[in-house]
């Protein structure tokens, strides 16, 4: 144990202990590599503590068919990944894949939804796209005992959608990481990374840590850490709000994008999107708007108390699609940015770890490089 505490040289140093870092790190350990996660304290932006918990397919990947495939792949791996976490750690992340709905209020919304998803299908060049459009009657049949608001005209449905408890997921991944022999170092805020003959040296507030390879999965921290290492990845914060109701008996059999019932009975309500810089304080108007839409959609929700609300800051790229990039100037340094850390946890653990370990990059990765943004800037 004391060896572990003192150890400061690893095959891979992962910067970031949120949704992405530990997922990738678990896979690296399973490939026989010696891995360290560097994390900060609890007084920093903690995007991974603010998640809604959807494992979500429909609507992802507009303009990037490879992201559609990538999301499908993660959704497909999820049950097995969740089972691994449960078997190994005893932590039930409450993953369920009952399919998911996005309910539409009014014909205009429905038409817009069909147009949007239709474009994603078109962009896929004829690939199957697991989406169905339901009218109100079909939605009612799918949600027995859930009286719909009078404005609900229909929904889009995907059998690939599901959900998970994001806090248990985070805890399970951290537990699994340490169980597999990984070294977790909190209060190791990284200031810079340099290199010497032996590899990379990560300079932190609590001393240096060395790694042959470095994975930057630091959320908003990538913005400052990346550029000196040849990873100029444009990300910005986008604020989203979540409301949680008191626990109630099972009502909603599947997640509905903007709301889902947890396996313990709470109903979580979302979703907002605001440009507010790094301000993650709660905005009352956003809370009001979310609650108002929820009660228009399912009026019975009106009788529930809201027991908590919070805001968190998505890590958003300009096209909302993920970045997986190895530095050209610093080989062996990898940058990962995505606002879908929950949905992609399974594929990050099972597949992205292989890419970092040296496997041929997954086919989808041709689209996930950072060049796409720089090409746009040059045009």
């Amino acid at each position: 144990m004391s060896d572990t505490v003192q150890k400061d040289r690893f095959d891979v140093v992962v910067i970031g202990g949120g949704m992405i870092g530990p997922a990738v790190a678990i896979g690296l350990l399973q490939r026989g590599l010696d891995v360290c996660i560097l994390d900060e304290g609890d007084d920093v932006l903690r995007v991974a503590r603010g998640n809604f918990g959807l494992v979500w397919f429909q609507g992802k990947g507009f303009g990037m068919p490879d992201y559609v495939k990538w999301t499908r792949r993660s959704a497909g791996l999820y049950s097995d990944f969740a089972a691994e976490l449960l078997d190994a750690t005893g932590v039930d992340v409450a993953h369920a894949n009952p399919g998911g709905l996005e309910l539409c209020l009014g014909d205009e919304e429905m038409a817009h939804r069909q147009h949007f998803l239709g474009q994603i299908y078109q962009q896929g060049g004829g690939d199957p796209y697991e989406i169905e459009y339901l009218d109100r009657k079909q939605v009612e049949d799918m949600l027995p005992g859930v009286p719909l608001g009078k404005e609900v005209v229909g929904a889009s449905y995907s059998p690939l959608d599901g959900h998970v408890n994001p806090l248990f997921l985070l805890r399970a991944m951290h537990t699994r990481f340490q169980q597999l022999g990984g070294t977790y170092k909190p209060r190791h805020r990284v200031s810079s990374v340099s290199d010497d003959a032996s590899g990379y040296v990560v300079h932190t507030e609590s001393g240096d840590v060395r790694g042959a390879k470095i994975v930057i999965a630091a959320g908003h921290g990538l913005k400052d850490l990346g550029p000196p290492l040849g990873l100029d990845i444009p990300i910005r914060p986008q604020r989203g709000h979540i409301l949680v109701t008191e626990r109630t008996q099972p009502l909603l059999p599947m997640p509905m994008s903007a709301f889902r019932q947890t396996h313990e009975g709470s109903i979580m309500l979302g979703v907002s999107a605001e440009e507010a810089g790094y301000d993650d304080t709660v905005n009352t108007q956003s809370v009001h708007d979310i609650a108002a839409r929820a009660t228009r959609t399912i009026p019975a929700l009106r009788s529930l108390n809201i027991v908590r609300s919070w805001a968190a800051l998505r890590v958003l790229t300009p096209d909302k699609c993920p970045v997986y990039q190895e530095s050209h100037s610093h080989p062996g340094v990898y940058g990962i940015a995505s606002h879908s850390g929950v949905t992609l946890a399974a594929v990050n653990s099972r597949v992205v770890s292989g890419w970092i370990a040296g496997d041929t990059p997954p086919e989808e990765f041709k689209s996930f490089g950072v060049e796409r943004f720089h090409a746009e800037n040059a045009a």
Binding site: E246, R247, Q249, S303
Partner: protein, 99 residues
């Protein structure tokens, strides 16, 4: 069971779990219940374990009770009123209860 520190003459009559009782006016429902009940005042929706009022200041949500037909109310945040009907909160409420 908790006792009041001095005699209070201004009282209201409430019912808890079917038992009628006179309690000082102006106190919270949670405080009133603690004067007649030693054990659990609710069961959790997750494990079914018993729970009772704890923080008494609106933070911990352990004191949830059904008050005048409305489930899951924070009993420490509600002042007793004459004729109030209070019941333990057993498990999760059903959506629409009290609506």
């Amino acid at each position: 069971m908790l006792k009041t520190r001095h005699d209070v003459t201004d009282k209201v009559s409430v019912t808890f779990d079917g038992q009628q009782m006179d309690v000082p006016s102006g106190i919270s429902v949670a405080a009133a219940v603690l004067s007649v009940r030693d054990g659990a005042t609710r069961s959790t929706p997750v494990s079914g374990d018993g729970r009772a009022p704890y923080c008494m200041m609106g933070v911990c949500f352990e004191c949830l009770m059904d008050i005048d037909g409305i489930p899951n109310r924070q009993a420490c945040m509600v002042t007793v009123a004459d004729g109030m009907v209070i019941n333990p909160q057993e498990g999760a409420s059903r959506l629409g209860d009290g609506a």
